[in-house]
Amino acid sequence: MSTTKLWGYLARYENPAELYHACEKVRDEGYQRWDACTPFPVHGLERAMGMKPTILPWIVLVCGVTGSVGMLGFLIYAMNELSPYIVGGKPIFSLPAYVPIWYEMTVLSSCLAAFLGNWILNGLPRPHHPAFASKAFERVTDDKFFIMIEAKDKNFDTKYTRLLLESTGASLIEELED
């Protein structure tokens, strides 16, 4: 089982412009299982890659509303049922006095959702990735730009995909092993 298997191709580009045009080509060839890796977010690349918008805002909305409603419910329940007592002359049910905590917990639940949602949607933490075996890929967090095309993609062809990447002006093409 341990025989090495081709995972995909890794192509290196020297600047965002080259990467951008290469992404447009790969997108137009109809690849699905591929990715572009960059040291910083290259804005507009999602269009060149033909990506769909992320669903993260909806996750945050659901969690935020749940946290908000849940906290308000809890405040009402705790102050009216669990331990109703009067301090400082505030009525037991005094909505204005619930607002600060209610508000803070809305913020907190939304932020937790955004934070966790981000990593979960991105499949991180992920200790290993085939690209980490490549020495050249170490520059991805510094100043180099990469495209990876997975062998699992239905359009993938060992010869043709390589030719495609060469035609986009990649400065280096490597095979990644699974």
Binding site: E14, N15, P41, V42, Y85, P100, D142
Partner: protein
């Protein structure tokens, strides 16, 4: 696009960042000086973190040992406080809140600049923030930690602090969620947690940079686990940036709400001098004011010592000074308005409190506050002063002092004259100086560790504001047909 002026900047990175450029007729000057390539940015920032432990500069070791021993002293002081109780403070009968709360409000206020820079300036697309946000966010977290220490230690019976948490006690009673002090617990904890999430999210790509560059095993393990396998995938960046945006959008109202709730600790009470509706905006302006001053205090030496002048240029300093000037003027307006409202209300107690602040036994504190917060920052109207590194540093120290005294004036002078003359008392601190010093030890110890081991500049964000980060940058079209024009080569104009 660099003007002739910018290309004429000297080549020496030690002075280049300090040169003031005249305003351009159209557009703005480059945020980062020296036409750096992406790789050079990485090198400039990582150099600090990548020095071997044993090669840490001696002054730095001295600094961290000094801060560490003050922090250790703070530990001892906490033990002493735990054993003896708050009787070791000068708090007396009308003055039940003194340095404990003064220090708390001081520190939590400082934190607000970090969130303003990272969240509000982000939402307003102020790209210059990328050079200073990491720093300021770290400052926020350590300042809020110091603030939490103050507030956790002021309760008297420290071992009962869990009463603050939303848990029922042994009699089944829940904490009073309608109390401003309980609001404060939620506000400060939310603030600390959200700031941490925000900070960590921003750090992940930069941890990955350090992971990929290192050859030392412990560093690879350390930064590797913090980077969580980040590989700069654009599919990740899209979600990541959206998460960052959402965190910013939620932190922005947090900047306003946290200090508002802190001000409620005072304003919801019925004490003359505290019971005013101006408190929330006034506290928020003061918080941002003090926080920007602290960013300046920390950043101005650091940019020189760590060689970051090309990234944090005099333009950044000037921008921050403008915010200090604005918020300082807002604070000055609030001081004046407090007096006006006290006079206009016709309330004797209110009027007495404010006249007493100005001319009573604590007149000196009041005038330190006014001169440091209202008068000296007005010097920033002059461009010469606004763009002078030395003047900015000195004035930032003044603001730090003034803002500490502001909280002292609000807390102590309002309390020391109770409604009955028989309960008037003068507050004199006893061991509190060690308390304040200790929180500084905590703050600087954490901060120096951060500077040593974490990237102090958000590299991935700074790279994103370089002109060549834009795939449609005109420099790339010039090189069309020449094969691979590298980013290094594309730096020229």
């Amino acid at each position: 696009m660099a003007t002739a002026m910018e290309t004429a900047l000297p080549n020496d990175p030690k002075i280049r960042g300090d040169i003031v450029l005249p305003d351009l007729p159209v557009g703005r000057e480059e945020l980062i000086r020296g036409n750096h390539s992406f790789h050079e940015i990485t090198e400039i920032v990582c150099r600090v973190n990548e020095a071997p432990i044993l090669a840490t500069p001696k002054p730095f070791i001295f600094g961290i040992m000094l801060a560490g021993s003050v922090f250790a002293m703070f530990g001892g002081y906490i033990g002493y406080l735990y054993w003896e109780g708050p009787g070791i403070w000068g708090n007396n009968n009308p003055v039940g809140w003194a340095w404990d709360i003064v220090n708390f409000v001081f520190w939590v206020g400082i934190g607000h600049a970090g969130t303003l820079i990272s969240a509000i300036l982000y939402l307003f697309r102020q790209k210059w923030r990328t050079s200073i946000n990491r720093y300021a966010e770290a400052m926020t977290i350590f300042a809020v930690l110091a603030a939490s220490a103050c507030v956790a230690l002021h309760t008297g019976r420290i071992w009962m602090d869990y009463y603050l948490f939303p848990l029922p006690n042994q009699m089944g009673l829940w904490p009073n969620f309608r109390s401003p002090l309980e609001w404060d617990v939620f506000a400060v904890n939310t603030y600390l947690l959200v700031s941490l999430l925000f900070w960590f999210t921003g750090l992940v790509p930069d941890f990955a940079t350090l992971r990929d560059r290192t050859t030392v095993t412990w560093r690879r393990l350390f930064y590797g686990s913090l980077a969580m396998g980040w590989r700069g995938s654009h599919r990740h960046w899209v979600t990541y940036e959206k998460a960052y945006q959402i965190l910013a959008a939620f932190s922005a109202p947090l900047v306003l709400s946290v200090h508002t709730i802190v001000s409620f600790d005072f304003a919801v009470s019925q004490l003359p001098g505290w019971h005013t509706t101006i408190f929330p905006p006034y506290f928020v302006a003061g918080a941002i004011f003090s926080g920007f001053a602290m960013v300046q205090t920390l950043m101005l030496p650091a940019r020189a010592w760590l060689g970051l002048k090309d990234i944090v240029t005099v333009k950044h300093i000037e921008n921050m000074n403008k915010i200090i000037l604005l918020t300082g003027s807002l604070v000055g307006y609030a001081y004046a308005m407090e007096f006006f409202v006290a006079a206009y209300s016709g309330n004797d107690y209110e009027g007495f409190t404010f006249l007493n602040r100005m001319g009573g036994p604590y007149w000196w504190a009041y005038w330190i506050m006014v001169s440091c917060n209202v008068i000296t920052p007005q010097l920033f109207w002059f461009r010469k002063i606004r763009t002078s590194v030395a003047a900015s540093f000195i004035l930032s120290i003044f603001v730090n002092i003034g803002m500490w005294f502001e909280r002292f004036v609000i807390t102590v002078t309002s309390l020391h004259r109770d409604a009955l003359v028989s309960s008037w008392e003068y507050f004199v601190p006893v061991t509190e100086v060690l308390f304040l010093l200790g929180t500084f030890g905590l703050f600087f110890f954490c901060f120096l560790l951060f500077v040593r081991f974490f990237p102090v500049i958000a590299m991935s964000e700074v790279k994103g504001v370089l002109p060549q980060a834009n795939p449609h940058w005109e420099g790339y079209h010039k090189g069309e047909g020449h094969g691979h024009g590298t980013a290094e080569g594309a730096g020229g104009h």
